[in-house]
Structure formats: C-alpha cells, structure tokens
Symmetry: C2
C-alpha cells in the first residue's frame, strides 16, 4: 500500500533490502520495476517481500559511523522520505534516525509504520498483523476442540496449544474468542502476565476433564514460573543434554501425562500462526492498508518523527480511524495485556477483553488461489538500484 500510494503521488519508492541493513549496505530494491499486478499481490502476501532484519541500531554517540553511512546512502539516492515498518525495535530505529536527521539539519522526513503480530505497540489501539494471528488462534482452538471432543471418550483427553507472545499475552487472549458458552474451549489460558502455578493448573485440568470430558489449554510461549523462569526452558533436554529449543507445550503435556495420567496431545504452530495469510482478518487487512496510506501522506506532508496509529472510537458498532502519534511516545513502550482483560482466576479473558478483541478478527480477507489449489502470492523481481558508493563493512 505504501508503494502504490507513493506511486499515485508520483513519488518513486526504493525498498531497503532486509530493513535498515539494506540502507547501511546500499542494497536497495527499485520498486518501480515491479508491475502493478505484483504490487497488488503484495497486499495479500505474507512475510516481508523485501526482507527484514534483527538489527538494533545503537545511539549516534555509540555508533556515529552507522549514522553517517545511513545519511550518506540516503543522500546518494536522493531519498527524502524514509518510512520504517515494524514493531517496537523498528519504531526505535525510525525514531533514532528521525532525531539524528533533524539535529543534523538533513532534509529527510522519517515516519514509522506500525506492524507486529505481538500487538505490543503503545498508543495505537492495535497493531496491523495482530488481528490476523488472533483470528488464526481462535479458529485453531475452535477446530481442534471439535476434534478432541470427538475422541475424548477413548483417546486424547487434553490438548495443549502453544501460541506466540513472549512478553505480552495478546495472542493467548485472542484464543479466548473461540469460546461462545460455558465449558467451551479454551478451558485454560496461560498468560505470560500470570505466574504459573503447577498445582493450581493441574487441579483445573483435572476438574475440567471430569466435568467436560476433555480439556483444551492455550499457553503463551512466555509463561513463567513464580521465580520468573520461562517454563519452556525449565523442562526438556534434547539429545545433547541441552535445554530444548522452545516449547512450553511439551513441558505442560509432560506434566499432565505424568501427574494426571491423562492422554495428551500438543501443538506448536510457531511461524504458521503469523504467516497464515490464508485466514487473515478483513479488519486487520483494512488497518494495514490504512496505516500504509497514512504513512505516505504523513511523510509527504513533512510530519517527520511520527507514526500513523489506529484510533478506536467505539467497540459496538466497531468504529476506528487513523490518527498519528510521535514516535517517541511509541518506541520502547511495550504494551502489556491490561489486568482488566484477564479473569480473576487468571485462566480466561474478561468481557472487556472480548469487546476489545472481537472486532479485530471480523471478516475474511482471502487471498486469490491458483488452479493448483494454492494461494497466489507475489514473486517480486527485487531488481536492485545501481550502487553509487563503495562497500561498507560496518554491518
């Protein structure tokens, strides 16, 4: 949407390959070489077509060479508007570059664009990406629970689904949307915001199996014990004796099997949940398009150091619009699940959480499918802008 909007304003767009690394390395993709059809397809293609990175930009004081290089590369290619897309770390990167450019008196407008499945960006009501992963986990709970319910009499009685969200329980909370009435799955949600209590957990699973016949548990990957240790790291050892890679679900499954003697299955969908464009929320897709468009408009209007945000004016009917906020109110302010969204017993979501979450998963935004039965995702050409500068070995 950013590229198409810029194009509609007659502005050329280069995409930095692999985020800020692409700027540092002068590795820029000329989006002008992509067809209009490819740009359209990008709107329903998961992943980051131009690559992304895990790279924490230091302060200008700690790494002046990096900032000098960024400015040099952007100037060499006459880049006047710099848009940076992502979660908290990316907002931090955009904020630092905006501040540096301003202090250095450069003619560069830096705008952040919100996008993270973690939903932990401050100020914005929600983050594009979250609504779709929320829909994915709610659908997964509803579907798998029908499967478990049908087998429970003589087979699996407990199912544990591990979802993303290492620091905040937004995705785990969304699983709660699957329940429509009493004793619907999920029967327990384990939030990273609540310390894990083994005895209480086991008692609750046991009581649920006795009452309902089976039990679905949703666990955030970030669940910790009272001492603050991640459960995922507390349990199993791999073939080499090292702590197992990730996996709170197998730890919980082992507990249920050993302590309660119940047959248990577990699932860990990992990247499947966050790349599941096939089950995207239409609300989320609309948010993503709107912040992209707004980011270009903010940039062209010269509003540097800002980020477009989603502002909700009503839950029911759901009403929202785009507003904007300074990056320094957003970067490095991790938004946790509010306590009012977690039930008193710590294992479910409240009505307030449901009012917040439900509009975000509404509507289906299916990608087009080919005759081969698979989604038609974009294959951009990724042609590079000719380089003008010598190599740089700083990143």
């Amino acid at each position: 949407m950013i590229i198409a909007t810029a194009r509609s304003h007659g502005v050329r767009t280069y995409a930095a390959h692999n985020g800020i690394l692409g700027v540092l390395r002068e590795d820029l993709v000329d989006t002008g070489k992509e067809s209009a059809a490819t740009l359209r397809d990008l709107a329903h293609t998961p992943g980051g077509a131009f690559g992304s990175c895990r790279y924490k930009l230091k302060t200008p004081e700690a790494d002046p060479a990096a900032y000098a290089r960024l400015i040099e590369v952007l100037a060499a290619h006459d880049v006047r508007w710099f848009l940076y897309n992502g979660g908290n770390d990316s907002a931090d990167t955009a904020m630092k570059i905006a501040a540096y450019a301003r202090r250095a008196g450069r003619d560069l407008v830096c705008v952040g664009v919100p996008k993270t499945v973690d939903n932990d960006l401050a100020v914005t009501d929600c983050s594009p990406g979250f609504g779709s992963v929320a829909k994915y986990v709610a659908v997964a709970v509803r579907e798998t629970s029908l499967d478990v319910a049908s087998m429970a009499e003589s087979s699996t009685k407990v199912f544990v689904l591990e979802v993303m969200g290492r620091h905040a329980g937004w995705i785990a909370a969304a699983a709660g949307l699957a329940a429509q009435q009493a004793d619907d799955a999920p029967h327990l949600i384990l939030f990273p915001e609540r310390a894990f209590d083994e005895a209480a957990f086991l008692a609750r699973v046991k009581a649920t199996v006795e009452r309902v016949g089976w039990c679905t548990v949703v666990a955030s990957e970030g669940v910790r014990d009272a001492a603050g240790r991640f459960l995922a790291e507390s349990g199993s050892r791999d073939a080499f004796g090292h702590a197992q890679l990730g996996g709170v679900a197998p730890v919980l499954a082992a507990l249920v099997r050993e302590k309660l003697g119940l047959k248990v299955h577990w699932a860990l969908p990992d990247y499947l949940q966050r790349s599941a464009r096939h089950i995207a929320s239409a609300t989320d897709a609309a948010h993503a398009a709107a912040v992209g468009r707004a980011a270009v408009e903010l940039a062209l209007a010269g509003h540097g150091g800002m980020m477009p945000v989603i502002a909700r004016s009503s839950d029911a009917p759901y009403r929202w619009k785009i507003a904007s906020a300074p990056l320094d109110k957003i970067a490095n302010h991790e938004k946790k699940l509010p306590p009012s969204f977690i039930s008193r017993d710590g294992y479910a979501i409240t009505a307030a959480a449901r009012r917040y979450l439900e509009p975000l998963i509404r509507g289906e935004a299916y990608p087009p499918y080919g005759k081969d039965g698979l989604p038609r995702y974009a294959r951009p050409r990724l042609l590079r802008v000719p380089r003008k500068l010598p190599d740089w070995n700083g990143a």
Copy 2:
C-alpha cells in the same frame, strides 16, 4: 451427507455415539431430532460430531459376547443398515460385523465409508479428509517459507515443519506441492518410507542454506533411523527423564543447531492440520459428500460388505467417479506412498506424485463465518434414542 441422503429416502438414521462403543453401550443419537440447518452445517464442521473411538473389535471367536451384544442392540432398535466411517481400523470393524451378520443370517446390511487423513486405505484412489490436510500443509509451507525467507539474513535460517503420517508419507508428500520452481520450499522432505541418514540430512541442509540463504524441512512424524527407531523417540527427555511425547521436529532442530550452528525454528501443528476445515479442499469436500451418498445407496440396494471408493479416470483434466469394492480388499491393507512418488535422492516428490496429489487440493470450500469472525460450526443437540436394553459392561 449420509443422514441427509437417508432422510431423502425416508429412512431414519441413528448415530452411534463414539463409534462402535455407542452400539455396544446402546448409546444412540436420534439424528431425526436435528434440524435441517444443523445437518447442512455438519457438512462443513470438523471433528466427528457424534464422537469417535479407538476400539479394536476382536474376532467373533475371541469375543463372542461383543458380537451378540451388537446384534442385540441393532435388532432392538430395528436397525437394518449399518454404515461405519473411518480408516483401516474402521473398515476392519465394518468387515467383521458384515461377515458375522451374514453368517448369523441376520437381516443387516453393513457398508464401510472411507475417511482418513492418512490416505492409506487401499483400492480407493484417495481417502476423504486427505485432500484437505494436503492443502493445509502445502499452504503452510508456502506461507512460512515467505516468512523465513524474509528473516534469513539476520535471524532464522532453517525451519522444520513436522506433519502427520506415522506409517505412510502421504501428508509429507503433499507438502511438496508448495514448490513451483527450483529452490522453492520445501527443500527437504523426510518420508517414513526412507531411513533417516543424519550425515546426508545435515549436508543437504547446509548446502541449501549456502545456496538459497535458508532451508525449509518437512518431516513426517514417522521418520525412522536405519535401525527402524522413530526419531521422535530417540531424542529429547522431558522434565521427568521420560522420552519426550512425540516430536521429530525438535529432534531435527536440535541436530541442525548443534551440528551446523544455524538458527532454527520448528513447528508441530498436530491436530491443527487435520481439523483445519477453514482451508478445506473443494475436491476433498466433493469426495466426502459423494462417498456418503453412495454408501447410503449401496446399503439401501442391499450391497453389504462393501465400501464406496473414489475411482480416478484421468489426472489432467482430473476426472473421478464413485465405484465400490468389497471391505475385505480394503481392511488391513495399508497403502504406502509408492516408490515412484519419491525422488531418487529421497528428499522430494516426483512429477508422478504431483500429478496424483495436485487435483486433490484444488478448490476452496470455505465454511460460513459468523459476525464474530469465526466459522459457524454445527452444535448438534445429540438427543439420545431411549434405551431398551439393560446395561452392558463389556466395553
């Protein structure tokens, strides 16, 4: 479809609750109490609405009381047609009851109905359920690979997806459909039909990461080493020192991390894959409806001991029709992936496999969604048929 077809013929249908256990226990659901809307919704609802079981019926010689009870319950409720739905074990159950009823001179027509995501039923070209799980895994590979590709430069380089199929590699093979051109994911498929060779596997992963930048591995849960041991049981230990519950993916991930030093993620979707009605294949949905209808017609025509099967007459254009086969040609004949479907190097599917698999995932058959953004799955009333017999404690 079975219930609706029987209803259209003026025949009442009772559903045994939890499969054959429901007959033994005289626990029968009166489907006549379900609305036409519920029956329509059942066609797009995952899981077994009337419950299922894991229960291996012995031979009449080994357990004469069970057979006497089955006949007694069916006679008490004037059941004249007995349809039994499932995979190999269910076909075996249907076959045994058909043979027993025939020998006992009972007026009972027993027909099997094919349904298993494992696709390992003999005679039928494919089994209803498989096409949808095949579509799920192919879509999952395509989507997650876009995610991995975008991060690979500075984060995860290897992704391992574990799929179902303990004895036959049909589901793993379906993942191969995600690849359209050279070096597309999946880069390696590990089939249960091929012994795992650790050195060759690691060399292949390493070469793929060097050439492509990243690597997606799809592993069947049933992968074994040359000595026939399941990899899933060879590796990790849980917190209690017991072999970890399932999970070939974490074992492979640990290998990649330890031996190659590459950042790796893994996913184990477990029941998510087989209950994912939201991404069902339209071809599969058509197969399921057709075998249901045909089973009722076989039964009403008095063709006991049979199963309707899917007969393919052409790959391209894809053409199929319903035929039928005796249950004793199907029960206990596990259909493995043919050697001609696995590439010479053992890590990919062949063109022949693609010709077979691709039509099965074609078309989308979305369930209807509610305003809450979730699929509208049936909630049958499950009202029981009044019991006529005393309790039975044999099962």
